[in-house]
Symmetry: C2
């Protein structure tokens, strides 16, 4: 893509009134736009990143055998009431009729915007699950969620509107849920590794749903809202709410604590929703039993914010290769020789594109300094420069490193193709 | 995909309380689920169709040079007020605080759910458009829209929540807008052709925005809400609101009228939103001028409903090949020879998949009659049957035709590969 043609420009300054590093860098770089507190648009550069994140998640969840679907945001009050969640704080209520005095009371609203979809999926599953032969099943969506948050200082880490992958599984018995739960944990480990994180599988409370622990995937980062206690040696990790030093046994490692960003969670729901929605199945003996459910989330817009919090320096973002908006940023520094350098640049740009490499081509008529600053801010993993000095060669440099290498056209294609990481 | 493994099942009966043919067939077939009036989930089969529709739209809009982005559903009241649209009937209001008496008045709400995004995109564009050098630009999204409709009897033709492609363009002058507007009309013609429609480019009123006509893309169908007047001979078409027989000149063709489904529209906005949002640019002489805008919509979930209204018979749906959930429905009728036929079926299924053909493989242990009925209902373009009778051959039949052909494995791959229609 030619940089002179793209919709966005980088900003000269950081946005006012934005405290989170992820939002500051992403807004300055033209990845996102803040519409109002906790509500963002994903501009073309940002949507490229978001789609890459979503596709990594999608590939690994498909691999689990789950099928993708898409549920609505307008969730009718009747669903929330059936599971006794119409009164939760984070729900946005809408629809319904004003009364004769022109006012709305809580009971007058018709919908709560979906902040999670256990209710809707349970009602849907009832149409398709009747027998043990219909189990197990799992479905997921990558869909917009809404939560009426009062604290929204985290940029993409905590929004009022955000994108989430939510997976739901249905089982005939506890053993089958337990085994699937472990499979999801393995899939999540692959996902977070591909996304560039070392995520700690952290024990957390099961709340009202289960006496067992649930598990959060936590990324150590000072921008995180959570505090976790963990051991580098054995992988032990618990969140602050349930931490009990006595449960760290048989390991000589030291317990440390740190702030962390929760990028995913897995949850055994048991029969809470199947009971509420009469989601039963008949076993081999014809006995009617409640379906056992699990629910598993990854916030993909939050992941985008977390990547920026993990990978940045004083000049800008350092995208990991799997989630970068482009693989290489080609900078044409033409000086007085605009026609000649422009021709070489166009040739290299076309050649890279033909080789299946995603290139952002900065052919704008601005100073070298501005181009270098933009490249550092936008944070594409490789910067390739052509200028009067480079002749027939290309200067290639990794973002965040100082070492510059002179390569020819064949070599740059080879180098970048090597870095296209296939799914493992 | 193996039919025994998919999340959904077809239903025995049509859903109760659903009048629209598209919703009746799509629910019975397991494509969609009705969550509440005018609100649907897209189940795995339905999402496959919807993604195909979206990708056809996306390819042609990308071809226009527009960049994809994603705007939020929570649109703050300040945006709607700035363009004087906070009071419109179809807006869902949410957020904000109940007053001390526990009630909400219209002015207490904080957001209106996005039913269109002229306001938000104008505010975003202001960050990136300052000079004539920044023009023209165009951006689009494929995003969920919300409209508080009172009439929702049309199934996917009129929902309270639906998916829409909305494209916005920005120009330095009227001539540039006019020329882009024609390009969008050409792109829309390609899109609707690929989607299986003969859409009539129909003149409609510009309302408060422009004295010129706007254009609707209308598909003649009795399920449509609109009435249009059109001429088969010269392509003249006007909607009922503006029809004037006197404007049908220089053509001997006869004017007919009919019900039609509006699947898309194109609209010259002029400076309505750039004035409201102070979206100005400096021309070559340094004069400050308002940006001229256009807005162009296609409702992709409505398109899905319209396809079903256009292509169905008493047995079910007849998906056009470009939007079918799968290319071929492979039915294994195993009778007493379950092992032998099962082995042949699995071999053919694997072979078709390896050849890049999308197959739904019905290997369920149910009667041949049920399988044939499901195949007709689901409406995949080709049905391939293997049974004790077919030996080493496969019986292939087009949905909606009676002619059955016996082919071997090589021939079926060749036939189906021929039918994979590339973009033209």
């Amino acid at each position: 893509m030619r940089q002179s043609q793209i919709f966005t420009k980088t900003a000269k300054n950081y946005p006012e009134g934005e405290e989170a590093k992820n939002a500051k860098l992403l807004i300055k770089g033209g990845f996102i736009n803040k519409s109002s507190a906790g509500v963002y648009s994903f501009l073309p550069l940002g949507l490229r990143v978001l789609n890459k994140i979503n596709n990594i998640i999608r590939e690994e969840i498909n691999e689990l055998g789950a099928e993708e679907l898409l549920m609505p945001a307008l969730v009718h009050k009747k669903y929330w009431e059936q599971a006794d969640r119409w009164g939760v704080d984070v729900i946005y209520r809408t629809g319904g009729k004003e009364n004769s005095a022109g006012v709305m009371r809580r009971e007058d609203f018709e919908y709560g915007l979906g902040w999670t979809h256990e209710e809707v999926i349970s009602a849907i599953a009832k149409n398709f699950i009747n027998s043990y032969k219909d189990l197990p099943k799992s479905v997921y969506q990558i869909q917009t969620k809404f939560r009426a948050e009062s604290r929204v200082q985290g940029g993409l880490l905590r929004g009022k509107e955000f994108l989430m992958k939510d997976l739901y599984s249905f089982h005939a018995n506890k053993e089958d849920l337990d085994s699937y739960y472990q499979k999801v944990i393995s899939a999540y480990k692959k996902i977070f590794k591909r996304l560039g994180f070392e995520a700690l599988v952290t024990e957390a409370s099961g709340g009202a749903f289960t006496k067992e622990f649930t598990h959060e995937f936590q990324v150590l980062n000072p921008a995180g809202e959570d505090t976790i206690y963990y051991c580098d040696k054995c992988g032990f990790s618990q969140n602050k709410e349930i931490f009990n030093a006595a449960s760290h046994k048989n390991c000589s490692g030291e317990i440390k604590s740190g702030r962390a960003i929760e990028v995913g969670n897995v949850f055994k729901l048991g029969t809470k929703f199947s009971d509420a929605f009469n989601l039963f199945y008949l076993n081999k003996d014809g006995v009617k039993l409640p379906v056992i459910m699990g629910s598993y989330g990854i916030g993909s817009t939050r992941v985008m914010g977390a990547i920026v919090e993990q990978y940045n320096d004083e000049k800008g973002i350092l995208w990991p290769e799997n989630t970068a908006p482009f693989q290489v940023h080609l900078l044409e520094i033409s000086g007085r020789n605009q026609d000649k350098i422009g021709k070489i640049g166009t040739k290299i740009y076309n050649n890279l594109q033909k080789s299946g490499i995603e290139v952002l081509y900065d052919e704008r008529n601005i100073s070298a300094g501005e181009k270098f600053a933009d490249a550092d801010l936008i944070g594409i993993p490789y910067r390739a420069v052509i200028s009067e000095k480079t002749g027939n060669k290309i200067e290639i440099k990794k973002r965040g490193e100082k070492k510059i290498k002179l390569v020819n056209e064949k070599e740059i294609v080879k180098l970048l193709k090597q870095n296209q990481q296939p799914r493992q």
